[in-house]
Amino acid sequence: MTATVEQPIAVATGVVVRPWRAVLLRIEGQWTWYRRHWTASLLSSGLQPVLFLAAMGIGFGSQVRPGPLTGGEPYLAYVAPTILVSGLITIAVAEAGLPVLSGFKWKQDYWAVASSPVTPGQLFTAELLWITLRLVLGAALYLVVTALVGGWTSPGALLVAPIAILTGAACATPVMAFAATTKGDGHAFAAVNRFVVMPMTLFAGTFFPVDRLPEVVRPLAWISPLWHGNELARGVALGGLRLWPALGHVAVLLGLLAFGLVLGRRCFRRRLVV
């Protein structure tokens, strides 16, 4: 009846993928990027805990005699588990800060993802898992190097990696949420490093026990996620971890992770869907 029959009709080939597949596809995209740029990335993040181990565990540690404070262990064995926890937090916070802000602001690839069927919540989950995968890589490298220099004294050391990875991921989530709400150029991340990560690294039980701190500042160490991770990691590596405190530490870390997940997903959505 009409003259428009000749006109072809476009039929789209795109479909909505299932949530977990969407997450995996985004990770696949990140992997494509990583394959091109892995050297710089590995040097800046993966090697950092190893350098700390060399300087503090081996170099400085050669001047420390085993004593009651180190549980009678050599200083290298005393700090090997905690340096991993603290190192992974540093990597996690760094990856969750400027790179995430860049996804919104400079690289802007998050906007491209948001215009596909992948949702902001799925994007958040994928970015978190991607950071976690980088932590796994850093931890694996560290585990091997530390074994080679004799930093592990018991098979419990194998549990140090999952604890450190959990602590790192838990710290990444609130920082990702913060990055998603940052409108400026991200100078705030330098402050996060200076006033949160750095003091935490120095005073939350990584290099010496928290009970050496003046009584008034000890609570500051106790509320830091690093202290909970350190207690667990040192406990499994050197022994002496009791059940209830251990469950408490795990609960704190899981709680932080869950809190950050909910907050982060919401912040991603609020930034991308306006």
């Binding site: 479909v15 696949e28 995209g29 869907v273």
Partner: protein, 316 residues
């Protein structure tokens, strides 16, 4: 008969009524009604801040509406965002390519988000790289490409899912004339393939070249709607006579030419006479002793309509 097909061709792919977008205390879109039919090229024209991009973002399901109704491909963007996005393509105002990946990788990665298999994206990438005339650069990183090349890649990327509707937000802003014409050619080819095009632009020549139908927006509202020819016929005369003067002198000539045109517009250095016959008006003005420094008779364009409807005040 083909009646099924024909009904599909003319059906609305997008329809809105009373559509509103409010940001805190600012109302960007203030109750607009429009329909876009399948297979047509539809334009949103308007100055900066008219609400074009806000409308586009609502249609592409990246921005929830504050009020009114909106249907895209028969679905509600509030509840079916991913399903709609799976079937449309979006070319944003600013290119958001991954500049650290190659041309081909950009297409591969993005195509996968639409559920395409690796085999499908590989084949599609070859086709789109050719479409975007980037064959020589297929395996180069995006960063050093020219603005026109990046723009073509952004458009190619938006086509990775063979979208039924392609939304282009100021597709040629910042491109040189060669790049613009090449893009227009590509968009025309898409239209021939049955893709519905929705374009925002403040380039009038672009709207005249590409759009079957358009709406002119100003301050969040639609001020008129029609084909470019209809809008010109409705709001301006067939021709415009431009009389140019040394700045200031033009005021002296206004009285002498007032009855020679349907409308006379006084600009800082010239008079615009909207008239059916520019040459005749120019001769009459000369007979009456009007001596401009130069005269120009031209066809009315959509630009004249645009300025008539949205004013000459600078909006930022």
């Amino acid at each position: 008969m083909g009646s099924e097909v024909s009904s599909a061709v003319g059906e609305p792919v997008i329809s809105s009524s009373g559509l509103v977008k409010r940001f805190a205390d600012f109302e960007a879109v203030r109750g607009i009604d429009f329909q876009v039919r399948r297979g047509e090229a539809f334009g949103f024209l308007g100055p900066n801040g008219a609400g074009k991009s806000s409308t586009m973002r609502m249609v592409s399901c990246m921005s929830p509406r504050t009020g009114g109704d909106l249907r895209v491909l028969g679905m509600d963007p509030d509840t079916h965002g991913p399903a709609i996005r799976a079937r449309i393509g979006l070319v944003p105002q600013e290119d958001n390519l991954d500049r650290e990946l190659t041309v081909r990788q950009n297409l591969h990665v993005y195509g996968r988000y639409f559920g395409l298999t690796r085999k499908q994206v590989r084949a599609k990438a070859v086709e789109l790289i050719e479409f975007a005339r980037l064959t020589d650069r297929a395996d180069h990183e995006v960063e050093p490409l020219s603005g026109g090349m990046k723009r073509r890649l952004t458009i190619a990327r938006a086509l990775v899912n063979d979208p039924e509707v392609l939304l282009l937000d100021e597709p040629t802003t910042g491109l040189d004339p060669q790049a613009r014409h090449l893009l227009w050619e590509k968009l025309f080819a898409l239209k021939q393939r049955g893709v519905t095009l929705i374009i925002t632009t403040h380039y009038m020549d672009e709207a005249e070249q590409l759009c079957d139908r358009l709406v002119v927006m100003d301050a969040g509202k639609i001020v008129d709607e029609g084909s470019p020819a209809e809008l010109i016929a409705r709001h301006v005369t067939r021709e415009v006579l431009e009389l140019r003067f040394s700045p200031g002198d033009q005021h002296n000539a206004v009285d002498a030419v007032l009855d020679l045109a349907d409308r006379v517009e006084v600009l800082p250095d010239r008079l615009l006479l909207y008239t059916a016959d520019g040459d005749k008006a120019a001769a009459c003005a000369h007979d009456r002793g009007v001596r401009p420094t130069s005269t120009l008779v031209r066809r009315s364009t959509l630009e004249d309509v645009f300025l008539r409807l949205t004013g000459r005040t600078l909006v930022d």
